[in-house]
Subunit: 424 residues, 2 copies
């Protein structure tokens, strides 16, 4: 069978998708029975030389969105608008859509999916999270018999690379970001990555599917990695932790907990070993137990793997005039767990005067705030007459941890609270 | 929609499948739109008390295979016959089938899939490999745009547990197997696991799908773990390796290479960190790069997760009277790479007289057989007047490695060649 495809965008991912569709058309048709026909490609600059036939190129989105012979629109422009508008117009025109757009899917995914359900077309978005790692299909199909209990993930390759360089080379945040930029792992403006927005978008998509609920990116508690101090990598190692930008979702007591922040991850935890620009997602389901999916979370070729995989899966539905996927339903107004009620272990590093009574004072505050201490390290500080104290705690309410942190910072004997991390 | 299901077998997995279908029927229907109706269950002993309504039980397979109201047969008996016969009869009767049977799928999977294609019914077998880890669907759907280059996996939980205990507790093979048996991770007769048959079945299924070729379990080169010597865990650690039962498939130069044997896996390799009875599969695709999938590879609940997931995916195809999966094709007579032509790195440990000339003799043999040495450790042996020598090599042909191993064992100064491992 033939599948008539229109492509919006010919950047890093789009170029790889076009290359696979054009260069491997016969091999794919032989293996899968699907003849992927690239009919039209929307580009910004028609004059720029490209590796694909110029008659396929257009600068006018309506050449794709309004062409009734095009069955599937692949959106690889990125960003919120006009990508969202194009997707909506394609769906309204009765076309299936495939997208790698995490911003649109995080903010408008449930709307687009519901619209597509009403129009009896499909929205595929495997490429929107984790490059070629099969995440969306795992939740939608493979783990559908499970109640999903927890998602713990490293969803942003840039920050993982930066934290890895800080840990490995002992360099500071700015230097590590500069390295990531020269290595092509970070944008000139790294904010979307290092401030946790990218991970929050991806986590909101995964949580929405996993829990069948509208989880907006604004619902995700978010802290980035700008404040991560090189000093803490040394203590982390000593205590048996790695520092990762953790994306975490769960549903304790029926309320959805979604958060992205730097965290101490025990060295034996599978997420601790995720190196470089990789992504990894650990899913806990009530039947399956723990499943871990790991791979390159971004890049033209891995993302193209997901896009073309989506196209081929879609083609088999189109062939029979039927769509197989579970119609997704989203609770429009799910209960969210406020951050203050989140329970986690914590790591607190402070510098205090090296004199009697400090430990007693800190210990009293922890106890009064309902926080139980799990371990403590005391070391000479670089600053004369002071000592560095590092505490880890047993699981405690965020409200208690933050109250303790603030009260400890206010003690006369405490010079600074240098770091606060949650521990997975 | 309703899906009328007949279940063959009510053992560890069957009981979990029945429990989820009966106990969570309404929740599943609400979430997925599919009402899973368990119509009949084949059991061996009708008198044995069970947690499900007795009117569902039958001792006669034809009550399920010949009941026209049953749309799907779930085969959870295990073993080759009569399971294969039941599956064939169900397919010939126009029923879809779901199976967790690795032996049948490894030996007869392509036949059953082709028969099912001719009858326009579906064969789902996600549960046959790796419990609830989404492996079959990953190859069939998510990575379908890729040329699969390599599969490197830990596919047998029992041997992974045994090797982990040998490494961690310094105990021998027999003792570790006894522990695995008391912990419920090994059968009374552990041969299927420890001799590598189980892993070879699973690998042949994965390789068949990945390469679109009939790979029979007998095509898999196979060595078990009975000869693994506790001593080598110490050297492995020193050299930065873990010892795993590796399942490996690739297609160098178009010929299929499939092998299961103990191997030295570098500590930084994701497979090295797979602990206990877990499974992990690292897949290399030409677009996606490396993807790792990890989880519990066996057990009633993880396997039931895959079975019920298959049922729900199947239901959505049945609803529309259409089947979405890529029709699988298998090269009936693929070229196989003979073991002698496999290239790998190797680890060789030998005990030799502690006198001049030994290293020169061993080095000459390696060189003459085209094997280049990568590292060497020499230590005093427990046996007076002898030394223990451990070599690792650069990649070399198996034929050369085996010739070198035999010639070295024949040297007058060499007392024993104590161990030979391939290194991934």
């Amino acid at each position: 069978m033939e599948l008539q495809v229109g492509l919006l965008g010919l950047g890093t991912v789009g170029a790889q998708v076009a290359e696979r569709m054009l260069g491997r058309r016969e091999a794919i048709a032989e293996r899968t029975g699907v003849d992927l026909r690239l009919r039209r490609v929307l580009v910004r600059d028609l004059a720029r030389p490209r590796g694909i036939p110029t008659e396929l190129l257009t600068g006018r989105p309506e050449d794709i969105l309004d062409d009734p012979s095009i069955q599937v629109v692949v959106e690889l422009i990125g960003g919120e608008e006009p990508a969202r508008d194009y997707l909506e117009r394609a769906i309204r025109a009765g076309k299936h859509v495939v997208t790698a757009n995490k911003v649109v899917m995080a903010k408008h995914g449930p709307d687009l999916l519901e619209l597509a359900g009403a129009r009896d077309v499909e929205v595929y978005f495997e490429a929107a999270v984790g490059g070629g790692i099969p995440l969306i299909s795992t939740f939608k199909v493979d783990l559908i018999a499970n109640d999903i209990e927890q998602i713990a993930a490293v969803l942003n390759g840039t920050t993982n690379y930066v934290l890895g360089r800080m840990a490995g080379a002992g360099i500071g945040f700015q230097e590590a970001v500069a390295e990531a930029q020269s290595a092509g792992f970070a944008e000139a403006d790294p904010s979307s990555d290092v401030d946790g927005f990218d991970a929050a978008y991806k986590l909101s998509i995964l949580a929405s599917i996993a829990f069948g609920a509208r989880v907006h990116p604004d619902d995700v508690y978010r802290e980035g990695i700008r404040e991560v101090d090189p000093l803490d990598f040394r203590y982390a190692r000593e205590l048996g932790y790695e520092i990762k930008l953790l994306a975490y979702a769960a549903r304790p007591g029926g309320r959805i907990e979604v958060r992205v922040h730097p965290a101490m991850v025990p060295s034996h935890h599978p997420l601790a070993t995720v190196e470089g620009a990789n992504n990894a997602v650990q899913i806990t389901g009530d039947l399956v137990g723990e499943v871990l999916l790991w791979g390159q979370g971004a890049g033209g070729r891995p993302t193209a793997s997901a896009v073309v995989g989506d196209l081929l899966d879609l083609a088999h539905s189109v062939r029979k005039g039927a769509f197989n996927r579970v119609a997704m339903r989203f609770d429009p107004n799910p209960a969210l767990l406020p951050m203050a009620e989140v329970r986690s272990r914590a790591y607190l590093r402070l510098r205090a005067l090296d004199e009697p009574g400090v430990l007693a004072a800190v210990g009293s505050i922890f106890a009064e705030e309902g926080v139980s201490i799990a371990s403590m390290i005391q070391k000479d500080s670089v600053e004369e007459g002071t000592a560095e104290l590092v505490f880890t705690t047993h699981p405690a309410l965020e409200a208690g941890l933050q109250a303790a942190r603030a009260r400890i910072a206010g003690l006369d004997q405490v010079k600074t609270v240098g770091a606060f991390y949650r521990v997975i």
